[in-house]
Amino acid sequence: MPSTLLGRWADSNALSLGVLGVGNIGMVHLKSALAMPDVDVVAAADALPANRDRAERAGVARTYDDYTTLLEAEDLDVAVVALPPFLHADAVECAADAGVDVFVEKPLARSTDEADELLETAREANIAVGVDHTLRYQPDMAGVKDDYDDGAVGHVPYASITRLNDHPLGRPPADDAPPEWPLDPDAAGGGSLIELGVHCFDVLEWLFGDLEVRDATMGQSLDIPAEDAATVLLQAPETGTAITLHCGTYQWEQLPEVNTRLRLEGITGTISNQDHLPENFYASAATSALSNVASRLTGSGPDVFGPTFYLQAHYDALADFCTAVREGETPPVDGADGRRTLELAETAYELAEAAESDTLEVPEVMT
């Protein structure tokens, strides 16, 4: 962390925070920030009036239809960049011009080249960059790591991770037009591997150390420009673990159920994230309610998004970033981590493309 950042916030009572982009995930960040102690959410920006209205109803003081205007008009400490990926680099550049630290929704950028430029801009401006890779913040993933680090199943020769949802097409009934950009690789940086796979790469390196991509294949269930399924074969040299990763945006999802599976196959048994999930939503909600009421009485901090562990993970990730900024430390999931997930995705794309273009050699038939 640059020394100039140390103590920047030492005399500050609260971080001044703005949210750039308040679509679904931007609203999660906005509501998270509004619930944080020592964070003052001063403004949000979104091109869509309906999103701005929603942000105002949530309690943000001012809204803008352009994030550049917000960054020029407001005196921010932190900007949450929850814009589509094709705007990340520009938004970070604008934030850098204003000297504002950034917490960027994944993917950090559309490519490692774009990430390099983004990170160089941030370095020159001496701003911190955090990335919203949240799987490692989920209690089920933390439970897996605890068991694994405890040696609960011995050596793990094989692991698998699956993450599926229906972004952006959804399931019936159809109410809204799906946004164009998530289906446009030029705008999003790719398909489901960029949408979901980068989260998986991040949590896998958190568990197993540096990964090597050995092979990959991409799939399309519909005639869309980007892949809606990706399967990647990985090797973790440090732990001697072979790993398969499958992610896809083809499966109908109904919240609060989410389809994220992580299994570590060890010598003495299996570690599964399913064993660390709340048993059901209602029980979890009741537990969180009791916990929060108790927190009110004791004056300690309540859970935020308590019953939905995957949204609580977004809160925790942003809270950790704000703490790091406040204390002048490197963000726990920083730009280098975000870039690394893109590097692994690019290798997977290259291997899949190479396999696709390989022509089958017809073996010589001996007669």
Binding site: A174, S288, N292
Partner: protein
């Protein structure tokens, strides 16, 4: 009035969905020819045919929520050979999604290109008002000219609507027209104005709360085919206002014939089909949304945007 039924024989099945479009077209060729055969003579001299599938949104065809483009392509190929007519496949851009986008994602262009069949967005075409009789009133419906000037064949999939009725051919036509009346009366008016030649029910994959490979095609007058579809999904004809009026006194007289000469056992098919509904309209189940709001009120927590009911 007869409804002609054929089953699609899928040898060496691997799962419920055949991914390869060429293979689906090959599997469909014979049963599609069989169910269209009863109409071969009556339509031999038409010069313009419009096929109207249920392509309302890019849900994967293996879900049963949309008409399989291979079924539509196969119908087009058979009709081309039988009639030499100029064939188009039509839908309309609506408030939810552009037709070319939905049809494109579903793979319609790549299938239809094989048969030199055009994809037409009726939202971009001229239309005219037609006054038709619907229960207790005369209704003016705005109908695309193409549907009035060509031989229309509706190709619905077998699925329920959001309200729970069978989607069917009548309601598929209703989505392409406009009137001041509600959706049901508009659908009824659309059918009376357009007078579709017949329907081809794509029940190769059906949806009734879950998808199922039903491997069945049925042709016949649009109301009668819709009635068969409703029956297969275990919906009451009497409580469906569209079917009740569309069928009128004809309802008891529907006969089902095998198009191939093989036995047709719709009772067995009906037992196989799930009779459920579409998922709830919100991202989250309404019971969960309600529980979350209660929780948030008690606990002082935030309600995630994904769990808020749509406004």
């Amino acid at each position: 009035m007869s409804v002609h039924v054929a089953t699609v024989d899928v040898p060496e099945r691997r799962g419920g969905w055949t991914t390869d479009t060429d293979r689906r077209l090959a599997l469909l060729e014979s049963p599609v020819r069989a169910v269209l055969e009863p109409y071969a003579d009556s339509h031999s001299d038409v010069d313009r045919i419009t096929l109207v599938p249920d392509a309302h949104y890019p849900f994967h065809p293996s879900s049963g929520m949309v008409t399989d483009p291979a079924v539509v392509g196969s119908i087009a190929a058979v009709l081309q050979a039988q009639t030499g007519a100029d064939i188009a496949v039509s839908g309309a851009t609506d408030d939810t999604i552009a037709f070319d986008r939905a049809a494109g994602y579903l793979g319609y262009p790549s299938v239809l290109d094989r048969f030199d069949v055009d994809l037409v967005d009726l939202a971009e075409e001229s239309r005219r008002d037609c006054v038709v009789s619907v229960p207790e009133q005369q209704l003016s419906v705005s109908v695309p000219d193409r549907l009035l000037e060509s031989t229309v064949i509706v190709v619905p999939t077998l699925r329920p609507t959001r309200a729970g009725s069978v989607a069917g051919g009548i309601r598929t036509l209703g989505r392409l027209t406009a009137s001041v009346a509600d959706a049901d009366l508009t659908a009824l008016g659309a059918m009376r104005a357009i007078e579709p030649a017949f329907s081809v029910l794509d029940a190769t994959t059906a949806y009734g709360g879950d998808p199922i490979a039903a491997d069945t095609l049925a042709t016949g007058p649009t109301p009668q085919v819709d009635a068969i579809g409703a029956s297969l999904l275990d919906r009451s004809l009497e409580s469906d206002p569209v079917l009740k009026h569309a069928l009128g006194a004809d309802e008891p007289s529907i006969t089902v014939e095998s198009a191939t000469g093989d036995d047709v056992d719709l009772t067995a098919l009906r037992r196989r089909l799930p009779d459920g509904e579409l998922p709830p309209p919100d991202d989250t189940h309404p019971a969960v949304s309600t529980a979350y709001r209660l929780y948030a009120a008690v606990a002082g927590d935030a309600v995630p945007p994904q769990l808020e009911q749509r406004r």
